[in-house]
Symmetry: C2
Subunit: 121 residues, 2 copies
């Protein structure tokens, strides 16, 4: 699975949330958050098409874009890379780390407890 860089990721998020969609529409939804011009968005769409992360249907003389890879799969790749690089491939130290650095609220911990209980079954 191809690596998807930051800017392209944001385009994917739009299309994972709703698709298919034309370039114009994608650009409109990104504009508030990013300020990117339509031209920029088109470039990103093109690159994503080229690397197979998006597919397109032709509607008249324009494309309707939709994801060709599942968000789940991409997230899996990214998080695995991080865990490998930072924690020697072991997930537990990551959680311990998040806890240590105060990135887990009480609600998070409660939720984790439930999750872990579920997993242990």
């Amino acid at each position: 699975m191809e690596r998807i860089p930051e800017a392209e990721w944001q385009v994917m998020e739009i299309l994972w949330a709703e698709s298919p969609m034309g370039a114009q529409d994608v650009a409109e939804r990104l504009a508030p958050a990013t300020g990117w011009s339509l031209a920029t968005v088109k470039t990103l769409l093109g690159r994503l098409l080229a690397k197979g992360a998006l597919a397109h249907d032709e509607e008249g003389r324009r494309y309707l874009y939709r994801p060709a890879v599942a968000r789940e799969a991409c997230v899996a790749g990214e998080s695995r890379r991080l865990v490998d690089r930072l924690f020697g491939g072991r997930a537990t130290p990551l959680v311990a780390h998040l806890a240590d650095t105060g990135q887990l609220s009480d609600a998070d911990i409660a939720e984790l407890a439930k999750l872990v209980k579920e997993l242990g079954k």
Copy 2:
């Protein structure tokens, strides 16, 4: 805190594990895993010095390098970035995801259970 790219990270790992150390020594430890030439390692050391991630003591006419930033702090930054980007800043979904994708062994889950119990106290 400056962002530390992949190749430079590997240099940091060496020095986090043992320091201070000369360029030659760093290169020798990296060689088996990376195959990088001494010149490449020197470049990376220079860049890390420039961005303040390393400090150096002069020993005769050469430098002894040592980390100027804690590994903990860098790891915190990286993992926060990932969690923000992929999981909307919430850590629990990350754990759920690791579980779903089978990246947690039974041992991991047991360990997590213990950790969570500890955190919940």
